[in-house]
Amino acid sequence: DAGVTQSPTHLIKTRGQQVTLRCSPKSGHDTVSWYQQALGQGPQFIFQYYEEEERQRGNFPDRFSGHQFPNYSSELNVNALLLGDSALYLCASSLVGTQYFGPGTRLLVL
């Protein structure tokens, strides 16, 4: 049984570009949450998807958007990248409470 998977593992972009990150949840999980973790800090909640809809959102600008597909996989899109968007982006899947994290995508914006 595969755990949470994310792609790509690493990504380098330049300011102003757009990026799409992907996440496949753990088998049987229907909820996907996205977090941003800056270096040396705890993960910060971006948003959560359930039944293909955004159920909750953290304090992130509209440049951050997402999608959940019928198979529960999810995408995170970030437009007009800023240097400050450089971080580890984590996807977590869950069924009710406990969230299990994927390995993350390390994004570097130059």
């Binding site: 949450s33 910060q44 977590a92 409470g97 406990t98 390995p103 993350g104």
Partner: protein, 111 residues
């Protein structure tokens, strides 16, 4: 909004010694989850505490959820080099909702 704080931010421990890290929430929580993140890795789920006053043990790790459901602690006995990493607590205001993470306690073990 809900805030979660952890102390200490750094913990330098001699191998074999015990230490405790503390987690405090600004609001009452539905549950607290603890995660461990190794350098260069991602948060790995350790345990979830739900009941007021709950104490759970995992080998050398003891987790406690205080009576008021706002505070928690993690106590590690006989620290080993494998305990190196950052320990995060994360609170949920309601089950299934977003996790609010503390800043983490970075543990370094001196052999």
């Amino acid at each position: 909004g809900q805030q979660v704080m952890q102390i200490p931010q750094y913990q330098h421990v001699q191998e074999g010694e015990d230490f405790t890290t503390y987690c405090n929430s600004s609001t009452t929580l539905s549950n607290i989850q603890w995660y461990k993140q190794r350098p260069g890795g991602h948060p790995v789920f350790l345990i979830q505490l739900v009941k007021s006053g709950e104490v759970k043990k995992q080998k050398r790790l003891t987790f406690q959820y205080r009576e008021e459901k706002k505070n928690s602690s993690l106590h590690i006995t006989a620290t080993q080099t494998t305990d190196v990493g950052t320990y995060f607590c994360a609170g949920q205001g309601a089950a299934g909702n977003k996790l609010t993470f503390g800043g983490g306690t970075r543990v370094l073990v001196k052999p």
